[in-house]
């Protein structure tokens, strides 16, 4: 995984990224195991930024570890915890240490996390953040000052193809595309038709942007119901919940892997988009099984 992600996006027909979720605490040994296991099996490793507004080891820190272990890190930056000064400073640091890929996203509200009384920032939104990275790429900061040593980030973002109503979401996607992104990693999608509809919309505006479908394996009907109620932007359809409910006891993970692999195969075979982004939160060590079942190893 030593090829820069920007090159991978240009060259590869089917791009695969996965998520390395930071730990709660300073013990990174398990994360290092995940990095070592995955770095040569995927094209980029995303690191979440206080995911679900739960305070964790920083995205930047895990990205450095990925870099040190020979992987290609994709730094996720949300607008929730830092103002424009802090975001720019972090990006300068990231670039100086070889972290060249950034995913710009809004970030969940602090209300869904574990520090509910925190002051959330949102000095910028995700569209403005994309513009900000372009500004840094041009050699200047947001205030128009010249940078002593510039940056050249490969910029990505996220989108929710299952949003309801969809139209306001698509207007925002259009703004992100116009701001300029090289790739989109979608929120988890479970309905193939929703993904298809989304990629058609994007293709009409931007033919070059790479779309990676978000894959979040669900391992039980209970987890699916919980996610539907508690994870913003996730909509798991009833037929999948039923399928999970019918799986024999003790086979939930295998079933979740099977469903995820089925979706990935369909995405690849029907060439509906350019790759997948696998988020097997808390079970990163089982990502290779998904890749294998999907015929990607």
């Amino acid at each position: 995984m030593t090829t820069p992600f920007r090159e991978i996006l240009k060259r590869k027909d089917f791009v695969v990224t996965a998520e390395a979720a930071p730990v709660k605490g300073s013990s990174v040994s398990k994360t290092v195991e995940h990095i070592t296991l995955l770095k040569d099996k995927v094209d980029g490793l995303n690191v979440t930024d206080n995911q679900s507004s739960v305070m964790r080891y920083p995205s930047l820190g895990i990205c450095l570890l990925i870099k040190e272990h020979g992987g290609e890190p994709v730094l996720q930056v949300t607008c929730r915890d830092r103002n424009r000064l802090a975001i720019q400073a972090d990006l300068l640091f990231a670039y100086s240490r070889g972290i060249n890929n950034v995913v710009c996203l809004t970030g969940d509200s602090v209300d869904v996390g574990d520090h509910k009384e925190a002051k959330q920032v949102f000095d910028l939104d995700s569209v403005q953040l994309i513009h900000l990275v372009h500004t840094l790429n041009s050699g200047k900061d947001m205030a128009g000052n010249e940078l002593d040593g510039g940056v050249d980030f490969c910029i990505g973002t996220t989108a929710t193809p299952s949003a309801d109503p969809l139209e306001p979401q698509l207007i925002k996607v259009e703004k992100k595309l116009k701001a300029g992104v090289s790739f989109i990693q979608t929120q988890a999608v479970y309905e193939f038709d929703e993904l298809k509809r989304f990629t058609e919309f994007v293709r009409n505006i931007d033919e070059k942007v790479k779309i990676l479908a978000g894959i979040v394996p669900v391992i039980s009907a209970k987890m699916a119901a919980y996610m539907n109620d508690n994870v913003p932007g996730i909509f798991i359809p009833q037929h999948l919940i039923d399928e999970l409910a019918q799986a024999p006891k003790g086979t939930g993970i295998a079933k979740g892997i099977e469903i995820a692999a089925r979706m990935i195969r369909q995405v690849k075979e029907e060439e509906v988009c350019d790759g997948v982004h696998i988020m097997f939160i808390g079970r990163e060590e089982r990502v290779p099984e998904i890749l294998e079942a999907a015929g990607l190893l």
Partner: protein, 219 residues
């Protein structure tokens, strides 16, 4: 108008514990309209306080007064004689009113009996909703008259976040509408959706130099 909520009785009781004679002071403007700090609420709070103290065998004397606007020194000055009679003042005005009182009567401890919460309007009887963040840089003309600064839980300026719930409800509360879905529907109705497609650059959060201070300009 300014919306407030009354503090829990326990907190008010605790604050009043050292005193035997207090003035319960209301305000006749915003907090009267939102049912927390007008003449009626002053009367209720004073009697609740007297009853609670009486039950503890520790009587308290309450004076009551409501001025038209507690945020105006001239009007608060009317309370001079009453304030002189008491050990402390319990104000049911917004934070501006409490501070006006505190500034005029520097030697008296002033206690807020309400929590000032937001600038809003009544959506229906007894239900108030936040409408304005006093950002000092109004752009309601671009958003169909719906303010995303305060009506979007994240104050986003370029459309909804990815967490919008089914049916266009907010990520953090299924009871609340996603402001950007409301904006979309309003602009669509007006045939002005192009406005939503335009990029809104980062906001100037220094449009109001805090602490705010404005000198009137003669027109």
């Amino acid at each position: 108008m300014i919306i407030a909520e009354r503090k829990p009785m326990e907190e008010i009781k605790q604050a009043m514990a050292p005193y035997k004679k207090v003035l319960v002071a209301g305000c006749g403007t915003c907090v009267t309209v939102c049912w927390v700090g007008g003449e009626k609420e002053v009367e209720i709070l004073a009697s609740q306080l007297r009853l609670a103290r009486s039950a503890e065998g520790n009587e308290i004397v309450t004076l009551e007064a409501t001025v038209e606007r507690q945020c105006e020194k001239e009007m608060v000055t009317e309370l001079k004689d009453k304030v002189a009679e008491v050990e402390a003042v319990l104000s049911l005005a917004c934070g501006a009113g409490v501070q006006t009182m505190a500034e005029l009567f520097e030697d008296k401890p002033i206690f807020p009996a309400v929590n000032t919460t937001f600038i809003g309007m009544p959506e229906k009887e007894g239900l108030w909703v936040e409408m304005c963040g006093a950002c000092g840089d109004c752009f309601l003309d671009r958003t169909g008259g719906i303010c995303p600064i305060v009506r979007c839980a994240k104050g986003l300026l370029n459309g909804p976040c990815g967490g919008t719930r089914k049916g266009g409800k907010c990520e953090i509360d299924p009871e609340k509408d996603c402001a950007w879905v409301l904006i979309y529907r309003r602009l669509e109705k007006q045939g002005r959706l192009d406005l939503m497609r335009e990029y809104n650059p980062p906001k100037n959060f220094r449009a109001v130099k805090r602490p705010g201070r404005i000198q009137a300009v003669k027109i």
